[in-house]
């Protein structure tokens, strides 16, 4: 089981004619993702690897049924690409671009909330349900190296750490239901808590693993949600960036979102808030396997190599 995407998800690729899109789309299709068509303004009528290309999302929808869009627009074109997909009625978008201006992210998030849609990103390497579907570069050309099917949901503010966590789980014999790299920006288009709730409701997910960082209210919202939910499904939290507390508040270490603005934004405070409401807070990746065993999470049948 999985959240958001599975083997039946029909995918549109906006910006399909670019080099990164062509490479990723080839990997996604080889993995089984049902890519049905693409959109690139000005390239309507073209074909990319046998897929028809349209000028607008509306034109693509006139011919195809589409569940999700994978967006390769460059940073300053992302906002309009997302708004176009929302206007056309698509309810799931994955936005890969990094360095999207924060004001654009505000508009996208508000528009998605109004439309009842979910936008993964910006600044994500994608979302992957092992053995079924991947959207974006996540997992690269051979996702099976890193992601094994299983009952652990992953939501991570870091794309690289999604893979690192999945790899650690795999080495310990545990697989993943869906891995979501939610994006590392100061204003993600969807807050972490939304993914946690989806995993909580997914019968195929037995435990959820989150990776948090300093800055943003994502982890605090997660703690508030944990305190109020009617479920006992385990949530495991790995948080990094405690070192920033040695420096004055507001000091930027480059990663704009991971900046402490408020005492509640520190990793120490987040660890405490999450632990207080029953999350399992882990400091070393090596602790994950033994913890999942203690929690009775189902191990993969296949040999973990």
């Amino acid at each position: 089981m999985s959240i958001l995407v599975d083997a039946s998800t029909r995918v549109l690729v906006q910006g399909i004619t670019g080099a990164q899109a062509r490479r990723d789309v080839a990997h996604c299709r080889a993995y089984g993702t049902r890519v049905v068509c693409g959109v690139t303004p000005g390239r309507g009528g073209m074909q990319v690897e046998g897929l028809p290309v349209y000028n607008t999302v509306g034109a693509a929808l006139a011919t195809h049924e589409i569940d999700a869009t994978l967006i390769y627009a460059p940073p300053y074109a992302v906002r309009d690409a997302v708004l176009e997909s929302l206007a056309a009625g698509i309810r799931l978008a994955v936005v890969l671009a990094e360095n999207v201006p924060v004001h654009d992210a505000l508009v996208m998030r508000a528009s998605a909330e109004r439309a009842g849609a979910l936008i993964v990103g910006c600044n994500t390497n994608g979302i992957l349900s092992p053995g079924q579907c991947k959207l974006g570069g996540i997992g690269g050309d051979l996702p099976a190296r890193v992601f094994m099917p299983g009952p652990v949901g992953i939501v991570s503010r870091s794309g690289g750490m999604s893979a690192e966590l999945a790899l650690t789980l795999k080495a310990a014999g545990y697989g993943v239901s869906t891995a979501v790299s939610m994006g590392g920006d100061a204003v993600p288009c969807t807050p972490m808590v939304r993914y946690l709730a989806l995993f909580d409701a997914d019968p195929g997910t037995e435990a959820t693993l989150l990776f948090g960082e300093p800055g943003t209210p994502n982890e605090q919202e997660a703690a508030d949600w944990l305190a109020s939910r009617n479920s006992a499904k385990p949530v495991i939290a790995v948080l990094a960036g405690e070192f920033q507390e040695r420096y004055p508040a507001g000091t930027s270490f480059g990663h704009a979102a991971a900046m402490i603005q408020d005492p509640r934004d520190t990793v120490s405070a987040k660890r405490q808030m999450l632990a207080d409401v029953g999350a399992h807070v882990v400091r070393r990746l090596g602790e994950l396997g033994p913890l999942l065993t203690r929690l009775g999470v189902t191990r993969a049948v296949e040999d973990a190599t």
Partner: protein, 404 residues
């Protein structure tokens, strides 16, 4: 965030038709005197640094004549304010202020907020601590923007009298629009002055702009590298060299911040670098820098520029190059660049320890390439992320006891 100096912030607000006092920058005391004279003698002389609380630091001085302006300029120029060396002063017309209000716009999370108080002209953080009820906040709808009636309600809650509300609301909406148009993350007006003749005037202005939006804000793009701050201070020459190559070649972004440790820290990816930085401190060692690297075009020259900056730093005792399992990039290309560049710079890993954790496609070829540089420690396949950090700490002198 790019923190603009007051002259740039005010020139921008003025260009949008907002009421800013006449003023300009001066680099010498004589120039400050001439500018004060042009304003009629009475003026305010302010240290032109991107720091708050200048008033408290004595860096804002009222003068009554060009002579006093010269003295104030001489005292401020070359001094240190909030960790910044004062290279210019801002000479501004003195407004006949009868009341001071506080107004700011902040975008550090969803959604953006307007913050207002009738207690302007002082340290707002002090007001926040002592009288949090005197500060009023409003979330702004990102799609609709700030509406005049919402601004009016906000100021009404602050206690502003009816007659003043329309003009104050109009100014607030104008500033909100300037905030959005600038791709700003922070705009603080402290104070908004109410003048004796009833005018409103933007007397204090601090503007911080989103780095990611600079390419569509050409008025500030050229000064991005000089304005960029690193850890609350201006970037130094090594940090600027990395900023400049980021600006020159679009694509990959390497954010390099120097710290006071002694282990060169070349760690890819935002999350991985936070995680490994914590691990290093837990072992009692300290990184010489932090790095946040994101992939993209131009990564080879940018990676080389960061390695050069680390190697140029006095006192650095070793180098950790450690990535998450790479999913898209060929590991051998990374290793080729690392080995060639370290050879080019004459680095001998038997004397200057270099530990590499680099796994993913092309790893077999990468391991062959690594053998060209004797002494380079390439962590065995699938080694946990913790082990590479422990290894560089061990090779550069071992655990330093508990983190300080």
């Amino acid at each position: 965030m790019i923190a603009l100096t007051e002259d740039l912030a005010k020139a921008y607000l003025q260009s949008r038709g907002l009421p800013v006092p006449a003023g300009s920058a001066a680099a010498t005391a004589d120039e400050a005197a001439r500018r004060a004279e042009a304003l009629g003698g009475c003026a305010v002389i302010k240290a032109l640094v991107p720091a708050g609380r200048r008033g408290l630091a004595g860096a804002v001085r009222k003068v009554g004549s060009p002579t006093e302006a010269r003295e104030a300029g001489a005292a401020l120029l070359g001094s240190d304010v909030g960790g910044h060396s004062v290279e210019q002063v801002y000479v501004e017309a003195l407004e006949p202020i009868v009341a001071e209000l506080y107004l700011s716009f902040v975008l550090d999370r969803y959604p953006a907020q307007v913050i207002a108080s009738v207690h302007g002209g002082v340290d707002i953080e002090q007001i926040h601590r002592d009288h949090p009820d005197r500060i009023h906040r409003l979330n702004v709808d990102p799609v609709g923007g700030l509406r005049p009636w919402e601004a009016m309600r906000l100021w009404e809650r602050c206690g502003i009298e009816s007659a003043r509300l329309p003009s104050l609301a109009a100014l607030t909406v104008g500033l909100w629009q300037a905030f959005v148009a600038a791709d700003a993350l922070m705009l603080e007006i402290n104070p908004v002055a109410v003048c004796a003749d009833g005018r409103l005037s933007v007397v204090g202005a601090m503007l911080g702009v989103d780095d990611a939006a600079l390419a569509r804000q050409p008025q500030w793009q050229a000064m991005a590298a000089t304005l960029a701050s690193r850890g609350g201070r201006r970037a130094n020459a090594r940090e600027r060299s990395v900023l400049e190559i980021n600006a020159r070649v679009p694509g990959a972004v390497f954010r390099y911040t120097e710290l006071d440790g002694d282990i060169g820290f070349f760690v890819g990816g935002g999350g991985a670098s936070l995680f490994q930085h914590d691990l290093m401190l837990a072992l009692g060692a300290r990184p010489a820098n932090h790095l946040d690297a994101t992939p993209g075009a131009g990564w080879k020259e940018k990676m080389a520029a960061v390695v050069d900056a680390i190697l140029a730093r006095p006192g650095v005792r070793g180098l950790l190059i450690s990535y998450n399992f790479l999913q898209l990039v060929n590991v051998d290309e990374r290793m080729r660049l690392i080995v060639d560049h370290l050879k080019l710079r004459g680095v001998d890993p038997t004397r200057f320890p270099v530990v590499v954790r680099l796994f993913g496609p092309g790893e077999d070829r990468a391991r062959e390439i690594a053998r060209e540089l004797p002494g380079l420690v390439y962590m065995p396949p699938m080694t946990p992320i913790e082990a590479a950090v422990a290894r560089i700490v061990e090779l550069t002198g071992g655990p330093r006891g508990t983190a300080g």
